[in-house]
């Protein structure tokens, strides 16, 4: 992908769950660079909604999301699924299929490339199976490949979640609060993993995150949201206490 070509271009994105009560009030974000891009903002300001609009788990009310030379907002049926498979998503609560094994969970990342008939017969290509084991190795869980997903710890589950997203051969990664359910040390490890895959694949990773310090440490660019709007978009160094006050409100927590 050439540097002039944007990975993702969001134009005037709006979302109203209840008519007349918008949660996203016109978001414009253009992403041209790979690496971690942190989205910070208070709970309920629409960060999760924004990410879920990008892969259309939630239907946007208005706006455009240009991705891979197509408007994701217009895509329907098979076309939407083809675009979606290039968007890898990592979830706050991992969302692994608990009764499937770890390696099976990683392989589900390929379902977007398979017909239902092949999926029914569990007919994954040898190449997919090899890739899945390599990814599992890369996240350090080879020893757990055949264990059931619900037997893993939180940090391990999130590693599987990341492996599943990378398995999709994504052109962008979305991570919705990937570290919020984890302890501080594991949270850093998960961020390192996201950074590593973003670098290896040369793709952007859009990460919703509560922890401003952690965001500053890993992000190349930070987007601050408040009240359904982007109120800061720039380098992590450029974000000041005044910006944080604008984003989160109040100041006692800044001390």
């Amino acid at each position: 992908m050439s540097s002039a070509q944007a990975f993702l271009e969001i134009k005037g994105l709006k979302k109203e769950y209840v008519s007349g009560n918008p949660i996203l009030k016109g978001i414009d974000i253009t992403i041209t660079e790979p690496g971690i891009i942190a989205i910070i903002g208070p709970s309920g300001t629409g960060k999760s909604t924004l990410l879920r609009c990008i892969n259309r788990l939630i239907e946007p009310t208005a706006g455009q999301i240009m991705f891979d030379q197509a408007d994701l907002c217009d895509a329907r049926g098979g076309e939407l699924r083809k675009l979606r498979r290039h968007v890898g998503m990592v979830f706050q609560e991992y969302n692994l299929v608990e009764r499937l094994s770890v390696i099976e969970n990683v392989l589900t990342g390929r379902l977007g490339y398979m017909s239902a008939w092949r999926a029914w017969r569990r007919n994954f290509s040898q190449q997919d199976i090899n890739t899945a084991f390599e990814l599992l190795d890369a996240v350090g869980l080879s020893a757990h490949a055949t264990q059931r997903a619900d037997s893993l710890s939180g940090g391990q589950r999130q590693r599987v979640g990341i492996a599943r997203a990378v398995m999709q051969d994504p052109r962008i990664l979305l991570a919705d609060e990937p570290t919020s359910s984890l302890d501080p040390k594991t949270a850093v490890e998960i961020m390192e993993l996201l950074e590593r895959f973003a670098q290896e694949k040369n793709i952007p990773a859009l990460v919703n995150i509560h922890d401003v310090t952690l965001a500053r440490r890993f992000a190349k660019r930070m987007i601050g949201m408040a009240g359904g709007k982007v109120v800061y978009d720039g380098s992590p160094e450029g974000i000041s206490d005044a910006h944080l006050k604008l984003i989160y409100g109040g100041e006692s927590w800044l001390a």
Partner: protein
């Protein structure tokens, strides 16, 4: 001390927390009255019961020893019952898988789920005996009527349970598989089925068990199987043969119980 006691004013009477609730008492009395009335209306008396018990003793006398001399007839009926139960369970479970999925309100819109739920409810409305009579009248005597009866009974029961199991799944897992770009069928295969499979298996073995039981009944109204043999033995007063059939039915049910326990243990 006595003086002090006499000075203390008598405490005001507090209400008894266990006071009689007259409304409930009247309802109990009405219930008891209806019971007595019903017994009189049906002409039940000690005399009637004791003569009845006498006949029962007679019957038991004639039933023993059980007569297995016509074992070919018995075996034929047994095999037919088993076949009816297995075929009906298989067809009923496969159809219920789809109906259960379409009836699940968390995956389907109301336009689809409501009519499917109505269809399932309709299958549950009638007792299998009534359905069996309807099928005997419409497709004729024999095993086909019995199979159709048990298919309908199976759908009425497990399609509803399947739908309820699907409605209780975690949608987070479904969301994650949808996000990979998987088609709806793949989402069902990889996010829904793993969550409900073991429960489906439990419901299915229970239904097989129940179909084995019912397959010995549908024959009584002419829908094939051991029930038909039992009914004609009754009509010809071959009570020793009746006893033999009843023993075989008990063995069949216990065998079914054994199989379903085995399956449940394997897939725990």
């Amino acid at each position: 001390m006595a003086g002090v006691d006499s000075v203390t004013p008598a405490p005001a009477a507090r209400p008894n927390p266990f006071a009689r609730n007259w409304f409930v008492t009247v309802i109990w009395l009405l219930l008891a009255g209806y019971l007595v009335y019903s017994i009189n209306a049906l002409g039940l008396s000690w005399e009637r019961i004791s003569t009845g018990m006498g006949y029962a003793g007679n019957l038991l006398d004639k039933m023993f020893p059980p007569n297995f001399s016509r074992w070919e007839l018995l075996l034929g009926g047994l095999v037919e019952s088993l076949e009816i139960a297995v075929i009906a369970s298989f067809v009923g479970i496969v159809v219920s898988l789809f109906l259960g999925l379409f009836a699940a309100r968390n995956l389907m819109s109301g336009w689809i789920s409501s009519p499917v739920r109505a269809l399932i409810a309709l299958c549950r409305t009638f007792h299998p005996v009534i359905i069996a009579i309807l099928f005997v009248k419409s497709v004729g005597f024999g095993a086909l009527a019995g199979i159709l009866t048990l298919v309908v009974a199976s759908i009425g029961f497990i399609a509803k349970l399947f739908a309820e199991a699907i409605e209780e799944i975690s949608l987070k897992q479904v969301e994650a598989i949808r996000a990979t770009g998987a088609s709806f069928v793949s989402v069902v295969l990889f996010a829904v089925m793993p969550q409900v499979f073991s429960r489906f298996l439990g419901f299915s073995t229970y239904q097989l068990d129940s179909n084995l039981r019912n397959s010995t009944m549908v024959g009584i109204v002419g829908a094939g199987g051991l029930g038909g043999t039992l009914f004609s033995a009754f009509q010809r007063f071959d009570y020793d043969f009746v006893a033999a059939i009843l023993i075989v039915i008990i063995a069949l049910i216990m065998f079914g119980e054994f199989i379903s326990n085995l399956v449940r243990r394997i897939f725990k």
